[in-house]
Symmetry: D2
Subunit: 355 residues, 4 copies
């Protein structure tokens, strides 16, 4: 058994960083060896800075770690590790993640900064693992040697695209309308003010609709060694924040190219599996999509933790009066939508020999 890969976590004190540290506490491939946060935390002890908000104990192994800066810069301490998993705000991710890749370290990114760059794969391991073939092209184009950047989707995109993938394959997608009811943990901490969300809904999440309207096509598109081609369907998104801790609920309508029935849609969803299931990657859900038949499911509180938060749970599948079908799905936004997505990508890279 090969020694565990050393993981450096950027944004380690944040909501996703904490989740990732928790998920990595006993991981067969990886161990957290370095943590980084904002500049003002540099040099401080992790446990002194991090406001730990998970209902689990902070792992002992990270408590005494000293926080590194979140980018590679001459004259400052630099993380030494085999892989970076980054959960940074979009505005600083570009420079930060780029600096690590340039310094030779593969970067798995949760941020939106690189997602839509034409040479950067946007990976959901069950759907488009072949898009990783573009990495050598990316390295060449950007002058990276051993480093590279792999991204995972926005937390609202991923639940949607999981449900769309089997439908696209079986019936061809023409158009997708999605209205989300998103959890507060998606905004990080302190994030959403309680005065804004108690007895309320906020019908706006900055930049979210734009991301959901372009990421699915890239993920469901075709890859090659030099080009990623978006799939030609349309997505419309309306994103709302609701008083839910975790789990983004999405009301979806789809218009398909081929005729289908509710039964065939269910069959396509339930039979969906991919490479992570085949390879039995440690974080892979056994069933990436779970279909529930109860008329009032899925629900965030009851379904977000299915398959340890890595499954997409779909329900209320029925004929739509305008498009072909409508359904509701839930996906855990900080697990499958962020920490777990990045970790599954990292596991895929190991399995593919890229790490």
């Amino acid at each position: 058994m090969k020694a565990k890969r050393r993981v450096g976590i950027l944004g380690a004190t944040g909501t996703v960083g904490q989740r990732l540290i928790h998920m990595l506490r006993n991981h067969p491939y990886f161990e957290v060896t370095a943590v980084a946060a904002s500049d003002r935390s540099e040099g401080k002890r992790f446990a002194d800075v991090c406001k730990w908000k998970l209902p689990f104990e902070m792992p002992e192994s990270v408590k005494d770690m000293t926080l590194y800066p979140s980018k590679v810069e001459p004259g400052r301490p630099q993380i030494d590790c085999d892989i970076i998993i980054a959960s940074l705000p979009g505005d600083i991710a570009l420079e930060s993640e780029g600096s690590f890749a340039a310094a030779g370290i593969p970067v798995i990114s949760n941020s939106s900064a690189f997602r839509m760059h034409p040479d950067v794969p946007l990976i959901v391991p069950e759907i488009n693992p072949d898009h990783l073939d573009i990495i050598p092209y990316q390295q060449k184009k950007r002058g990276f040697k051993t480093g590279y950047i792999v991204t995972n989707p926005n937390c609202t995109t991923i639940g949607l695209v999981m449900a769309l993938a089997p439908l696209h394959k079986a019936f061809g997608l023409e158009a997708v309308m999605m209205t989300s009811m998103q959890a507060i943990s998606g905004a990080g901490y302190p994030g959403v003010a309680s005065m804004d969300i108690l007895d309320n809904v906020i019908p706006h999440i900055g930049g979210e609709e734009e991301k959901v309207e372009e990421e699915p096509q890239k993920i469901l598109g075709k890859g090659s060694k030099t080009k990623l081609t978006a799939a030609p369907f349309l997505v419309s998104a309306q994103c709302n924040r609701v008083a839910v801790h975790d789990g983004h609920l999405e009301s979806v309508r789809v218009k398909l190219k081929k005729k289908a029935t509710v039964e065939k849609v269910i069959e396509a969803l339930e039979s969906f599996t991919g490479l992570p299931q085949e390879l039995k990657l440690p974080t892979a859900p056994v069933r990436p999509i779970i279909v529930r038949r109860e008329q009032d499911r899925p629900q965030p509180r009851l379904d977000r933790d299915a398959e340890n938060g890595m499954a997409t749970v779909v329900g209320r599948i029925s004929k739509d009066t305008i498009f072909d079908f409508k359904f509701t799905l839930i996906s855990h936004n900080t697990i499958r939508g962020a920490a777990g997505a990045a970790l599954l990508n990292a596991e895929l890279l190991v399995a593919k020999g890229l790490l």
Copy 2:
């Protein structure tokens, strides 16, 4: 000044009944003279039976009223009044409301029982007051003499149809996709269990999607003295329950027949008024539609009480990637969506000399 009309309230102890009693406490046209509830409450004192849940005091005038049965039946006490306003569960409304109309009393109904009957007008006073012209036909067909039945829409339909009316008039509607985030008061009391909604969303409200998918077309259709013809556009609805006390929030996309711009859509919405505004009916909002420009409005907590809960507040109007436009709206479900809708209908009937 004519004496006040005597109002009998069916479902008086329920969430909508309470709201109506509150709205009628100092009304220029009406006074509550009788209250009715379920059979098991018959003969009891209102204040002893009613679990008053509004953050206002129960009006003194109703406290000592004796509860009547909710239908006209030989050998039981019968409400004597000029008009019935009924907020009953759908399953008992048909018989109950019919019995009062047959007994000669005009009935304003909040329930779904008669809404889609071809001879029963489904009225939003700003939109289709002319549909009242069918009343003589209804009376003739059903053998009613002085009684008749007028209905108001489902609490989710009404906010939607308010926003659709000016768009339909200006540009013609082709298709409407609506996803709702509905308040708990819509389910009455006790209604939604707290264990079901705290930190959760329930993606199902029994019968709601079906109602929203057919009522707007009737309301926006054409009336005549013998026929109500539905407008020929399609509606798709996905209805969700969220942890909000009052106010149904709706994410809407519309496909129009004519070209429009965001500015023209806003103009159509903001300039919308109708007969209640012209007649200055007591419960009529000055501005039936309020358009907000902030990117995070409307919100239930901040906008549901606009114009005393009688306005529909619309925001986030923008181009859609698939349909023509998308926007978000809020409407107070127990005021504009129920008690206030019925009351405004009653006021319209007075103004039109029908009461």
Copy 3:
């Protein structure tokens, strides 16, 4: 290894019953072999009747079980099992539980019906396992042969008495003031209406204050083979319901007989263990009391699941201006406060050879 004891669960479809079924799904001593619910469910399939509200799957093993009646009655189907664990409403528990004990089956009861009966032990295994010595006296007095009744405390009492036990032992209790903020799951399902608790607190829980004001003294009192003598201290309780799913938070002040310091109070709490820890009972928490030093802990969301929901977490220990000390504690109301309490009692009975 002895075969697993067969457990019959009364109130199996309720909030506590579901939790118990979940906790027993892979238990080393026990297996659920029969389930019972209200009369109207008799003969129906468990999965058809039970509205499962836990964020875990319903165990396959119970889905197809047929529901028994909740009491032993001639001419009706009767549960055959080695032990009954009952979570019934207080009003039916007396007859129901008594009928099983009379029929020869030991009953572990979550209800208040028998708790304060002088011959019925009210057991917290860490505190007063010796009170079980009264069982033969109970059997003799009531004419039970192999059956008997053992109770566990009210869900608000247990967290309190866990924290009081070491203080009583070390310093002697004189008086205890407790104000609770209790979770909605304590009222079962549907229980608390969402309209009552969203953006609200309800300062009343029927019968709760009375229970908390008398149970601790019995638990911390002296046992013998014929008598249970209450400890002579006073308890005052004010109980409130808050918008929290699980976990009763309690603000406590204590007046002690001997002088103490904050440090000594902490030491007494942290060093507390009992027989379940010594015997390593399967459901026993390793640390029955956890003391947290952060100024804003314990919190329901972060601390209720400590030690799988079986620990009492105490924090904010400081000097009081009137009594000696004040502190805050949390205890998971459906685990340590109900299902887990009953199960730990059952494990204790096995360990003591009483089952």
Copy 4:
């Protein structure tokens, strides 16, 4: 009719400042003529800076006001007004409020900075209006000419002290135990993070318990022209934050010097009035204390707005097992607990000829 006094509001963009602006929108004595906020907002337009969070429209009259700095400083713009009402964080209030008083303007302060200063009156108009007699002494001691400082209590103190005042007068207070469940609006905006309070309680509010443990004695103490003497009873406070928008709920036990009965306690509370009621001050509640008999009242959602948020609503009055009586009260924290308290103080100053 004298011209309206010109009011300058410090902390105008905050939660309390907004409430005050709303309450002053049509006030018979006062008009808002200047607004101030933090240094970084100086010179900006009020409507551009203020995140208005009340479910009412921002008054037109303030929208275009230019924000002043929050203290008097040479070379910076200075508010010209007849009275300052300040709602500032404690850490900046000392210097800020002092600078205005020194500059000759009477200051009504919501902050804790000056409350416990021996020469500063801590006023609740119903209870201790005579404490204003110390103002000349304060002016002399501090070298103020026309300026002075009058404070109102902490938002948790005021509800408590309202209920205590009649009991202290009738029976004499010996000791008071108070456990609070406080609203999120008390922490301002953004204040409490939603991740901290949804499905949770936070058992800590910085500095709150200390304030509640010393302010009531000052308010219920004796005043003279040179000295304010605290009443000699003890208060113990445990303060918790709950998921409620507005309204601090308090569970209280009291130990009295004289014997009383529940009926006499109720009588003392219900018959309580003071100078504001006698003078019919515009913001004074007709009934400063409302006693409710229902077993589940008061509740934040139903009772916080009683008498426009200016009443203290008390319920659940019963004998305590340790102290003499226990009860529950609610007081609206941003109205009676802050904006309304300051405003009523200002009205009292006008009525007393001090303004």
